[in-house]
Assembly symmetry: C2
Homo-oligomer: 125 residues x 2
């Protein structure tokens, strides 16, 4: 019998999800995307560096290239005499902002709870 009561997701899609999670599951990717919250306006390289905080140029550059390759961000050279580059959220990246924002808002709302849990964990042990 080929009919399962459970869902039968294609294996091809399964590792694709894994691949997508790989894009986001590192120290910086989520933070970089959170830097666009809530206005989602394009951000220039050094401003991004300032907004994220504690990230080196090298890592930021790497991450931006990764996010650009994934189609979440778009790199734009600013025209005119002003030497500059900005990174804008693509339409695809924009669809990700909802889940990201949800995560960010959760962090805002429950940061105290997490801290309290960590504090009481020591006391419990």
């Amino acid at each position: 019998m080929t009919t399962d009561a459970e869902d039968e997701p294609p294996e091809d899609e399964l590792w694709a999800i894994d691949m997508v999670l790989d894009q986001l599951a590192d120290k910086w990717a989520l933070r970089i995307l959170c830097a666009y919250y809530p206005d989602m306006a394009p951000i220039r390289f050094n401003e991004l560096k300032r907004r994220v905080g504690g990230i080196s140029q090298k890592i930021l550059s790497q991450q931006l290239r990764k996010l650009e390759r994934s189609g979440l961000l778009e790199r734009r050279v600013l025209p005119g005499r002003l030497l500059g580059v900005e990174y804008a959220i693509t339409p695809l990246g924009h669809t990700l902002q909802e889940p990201i924002s949800a995560l960010y808002k959760w962090a805002e709302a429950h940061a105290g709870d997490v801290r309290a849990a960590q504090a009481s964990f020591q006391a419990d042990a």
Copy 2:
């Protein structure tokens, strides 16, 4: 006991959000929490290991302790004849399932888009 002791020094309330993101922004935390999706039932250690896939006992153990300290998971020793432990989602962890699920669903829905973007990125250059 201290194989890889990772301590988060208490910081300001402003940095609490950052601390929360630190809990989630690594290779495994999101995947482990995704393993509970969609039924959110408690999962035993080795079943969790199988569901996550590709994770070693050591890392899984580390991550579970971290998530337990953060109050997202609860470790329960199973009573009775069977030697076993299960990890259950706490009420706090349950509130996180919504953002996590949103992220997971996004990955499901847009995995193809990301792949296409990565493919066209080479061609574009």
